[in-house]
């Protein structure tokens, strides 16, 4: 088996489903959840620019799925395709078993059962909060009551007659959410829902929005470039890059078992530790790591050169007392509660280390780095060291950790 084949099948959810269930304690797939919306080999191009390239994705009933990726990766376009605000260049979109769009043809937004919360909320400035919420349910037999109960659901009772310009950012978002939920859509889409809010409000509204969505039981797709937001609110995360789906899975799974170096780097600070499979261990600059500690790596890869994914909290450094040193601190970034060190190992690898702020390690000091991870490590075949910041390849001796991530 070549490395390329291996990296494609590695982490396949069906193969590792049971293992994952044991490890994370959640069922990987709700056996009852049916597919509500499906993108089937969808591409979207404007003139000569391809924004989405052969994307296939299933949205399951009742879940909160987040499309996560850097700006320009096509996530918002994907959302607009699902909403019916864009027409795919190729591929099919299937809602509830009905084809709602295929190449160059699309059922328009007003005839799909899909609600959207826009990035700028798009509240109608000439209407009150209640009129905004009631905008999409004119035929509802009990419109007034429905508007009232929705405003109550989002915690805005008493603000029925307020004009959008008099509301705060959080209140506007609540109105937008209530408005999109009013027609009881089958699918709710949220476009960067928290990006227009202050940082403090953002965390609060994340919890609040998740509560409201779960309370109504609506299926939701959200779009963000904030990996913390994606991991904290989603049932599943779909990581996108350059118009393609990199990986889809539960937040823990995507974070701990990334299928590509891009996903590894985009979801958090990632360093790569080079090693060689020999017998039942991998020999690395941090000593020998048993194969059993590495997710999905087996003895059949004897002699292969691999890179292990190391998060800053997977390793610890200490001033040598008994141990021999194996690296040097070359950079130090003070982050308040923690300190991020960059250590150059004697083997040439560069690792990021996260330490409590109370522990001081001097710059240029020789230290001893220990692997302390209490979970299995992810690995990648050696060779293509693609980074989140533009995907360039670097040799093992240069900067091996990505600056993208947790800060």
């Amino acid at each position: 088996m070549s490395f390329d084949e291996q990296s494609q099948t590695y982490g396949d959810t069906t193969e590792n489903g049971i293992v994952d269930q044991l490890r994370y304690g959640h069922p990987e797939r709700d056996p009852d959840a049916k597919t509500l919306f499906e993108l089937d080999a969808v591409s979207k191009a404007y003139d000569d620019t391809t924004v989405i390239d052969d994307l296939s994705l299933e949205i399951r009933e009742g879940e909160l799925l987040t499309l996560l990726g850097p700006s320009g990766c096509g996530k918002t376009t994907t959302l607009r395709l699902i909403a019916g605000l864009e027409t795919p260049s190729e591929g099919r979109l299937v809602q509830d078993g009905t084809v709602v769009a295929r190449s160059e043809m699309s059922i328009p937004a007003d005839q799909r059962d899909v609600g959207v919360v826009f990035q700028d909320f798009a509240l109608f400035p000439h209407l009150t909060a209640a009129e905004n919420v009631g905008f999409g349910i004119e035929d509802h037999e009990n419109r007034g009551e429905r508007v009232r109960s929705l405003l109550e659901l989002v915690g805005l009772s008493g603000l029925e007659d307020a004009r959008p310009e008099t509301l705060s950012g959080g209140q506007r978002q609540r109105v937008a959410l209530a408005r999109s939920l009013a027609p009881a859509p089958e699918l709710l889409l949220l476009d960067e829902p928290f990006s227009n809010l202050d940082v403090d409000l953002r965390v609060e509204m994340r919890e609040e929005v998740r509560r409201i969505l779960k309370e109504t039981g609506v299926t939701a797709v959200s779009v963000t470039h904030d990996q913390e937001e994606a991991m904290s609110i989603s049932d599943r995360v779909a990581v996108m890059n350059a118009g393609q789906l990199e990986q889809i899975g539960r937040p823990e799974q995507v974070f701990q078992q990334p299928e590509s170096r891009f996903v590894a780097s985009f979801l958090g600070h990632a360093s790569f530790l080079s090693g060689t499979v020999s017998g039942d261990v991998v020999t690395t600059g941090l000593g020998e790591v048993p194969l059993g500690r590495i997710h999905g790596l087996s003895a059949e890869y004897e002699g292969s050169r691999v890179d292990l994914l190391i998060r800053p909290d997977d390793v610890r450094g200490a001033r040598p007392a008994g141990h021999a040193t194996n690296g040097t601190v070359v950079h130090r970034r003070y982050l308040g509660p923690t300190v991020l060190y960059r250590v150059e190992l004697e083997s040439g690898d560069m690792l990021g280390l996260m330490h409590n702020h109370a522990e001081e390690i001097a710059l240029d000091a020789p230290i001893s780095v220990q692997l302390t991870a209490d979970h299995d490590l992810a690995w990648f075949p050696r060779g293509r060291r693609q980074m989140a910041d533009g995907g360039r390849s670097t040799s093992p001796s240069t900067r091996a950790d990505s600056e993208n991530g947790t800060e």
Binding site: A83, G84, L85, T87, Q95, T98, V99, V100, A101, R102, M105, S106, I107, P108, A109, D110, Q111, R112, D113, V114, G115, V116, F118, Q119, D120, F121, A122, L123, F124, P125, H126, F135, G136, I137, D139, P164, E165, R179, S180, A182, P183
Partner: protein, 539 residues
Amino acid sequence: MATRTGILDGTEWSEDVPLGLLLLAAAIAAVLLSPLLWVVSSALDASDWVGLATAPRTLSVLVNSGLLVGAVTSMSMLVGVPAAYLTVRTDLPARRAFTILLALPLVIPSYIGAFAFLSAFGPRGLLQAALEPVGIETLPSIYGLAGTTVVLTLYTYPYVYITSRASLLSMDARLVDAARTLSHSRWAAFRRITWPQIRPAVAAGALLVALYTLSDFGTPAVMRFDVFTRIIFVEYNDILGGGRDLASLLSLQLIAVTVVILAVESRVRGSGVRTARSAPGMTVELGRWRWPAVLACLLVVSLALLLPLAILGVWYLNGSASASLDFRLGYVLNSVTIAGVAALLCGVLALPIAYLSSQTAHPAAWIVERASYVGYAVPGVVMGLALVFFGARYGGVFYRQGLILLPLLVFAYVVRFLPQAIGSSRAAFLGVSGSLEEAARTLGHSPGQAFRRVTLPLVLPGIVGGAALVFLTTMKELPATLLLRPPGFTTLVSYIWTVQQAGYYAQAALPAVLLLVVSAGSMLVILASEQYDIGWGRR
């Protein structure tokens, strides 16, 4: 609730280019351009047009017009830009009052200003009468280039003033503060920071001044300066002398000069520099220049506003009158009705063009929008003439009985002033965030419903503002009105023109005041619609 139809039903697929709308807008633009064809064809019909084009008289008209446009445009910038700077950036005393007062001359038709100047400083005018006791019997003549330039500058500098003000207000003034901290003097900071940013706006204002000057008929006619418009009008009325050929030819030349001005402006304007956001900077303290600045502003305001009003009062009290030219209130009704019809038509016709050009970057939409602006640059006297020719040739019995003239007059107004309505409506459409209409779509509204329920209510103030602007300019329009009005159809403007030409100044006072009142009223509507803030949703 939204109902979904299957793909095989083939119903209601969304389309990216609104073809029907594009065709409608293109049809409107084509009709707007048609009078130009008449100008060209009738000029080429003229016998010996090469000889006429190179005659000394034709050339002197070209030179005169060029001199006038150059002089008025430069003078307007010299008045307009400092006035804008003083009222936006400095601690000028009574700044708010001056802000409004300096914009107001726009309301006064320049030909009324010209009459007032003539009456005050001309031969046998008020000034001379006042000086007679001390033995001064003649004053330097105010006829000709100098007088025309002064009068036109006083009534056109507000174009530069208003565009410069808007630009100064929207630029990030902290950049000037930054330049000052980088050891630039006030003047150096203006030259290197402020000027590059307001230059496109000043150029846009100067373009309006140049086009107005070139197309103005009343002022040069009153001040007896031979420019295109005056000669065209005179030659056209000289039926026996065969002047119509010359009138046609001069019309074509006038359009050519207009095109040159448009080209020059687009070169001067450049792409401009725009700051991302506006922010107030430090107020400039005038210090010892404080009172000279106030005096200068007062001088402009008194010459442009107070003088004509005072002269109107004097006329009213002791001017001569003729019983055969009695003023009737019906004239006001005529003016208001025809201007109202023109404004309404412009408001409606502007909608598809403005919507299209604000929504798509399609080249066809751009061409349609630009084409509709051509009529704005065609002087009223040329427009009137072209339509008279058209009516005379194809109107048949309707023309001879004068039935076709009123529709033609309204058409002339629409062609000339529609761009004002388009500009205002387009800005309003651009102010509405695109996601609002999309939000309505996702809430189950069809494109038509979304437009009617969300976009239209939000752009309505802008459309009304544009229509009010058309109303205002139509009320004041002189040359096309004189050429196309049917016999017996008298408007405020045509009445004022007739009695003043006949020298019965007293009778001009009341209608002139009425004209100013109506104009000021529509100015208020325009200002109110601009203050309406369409979208906090705007990025």
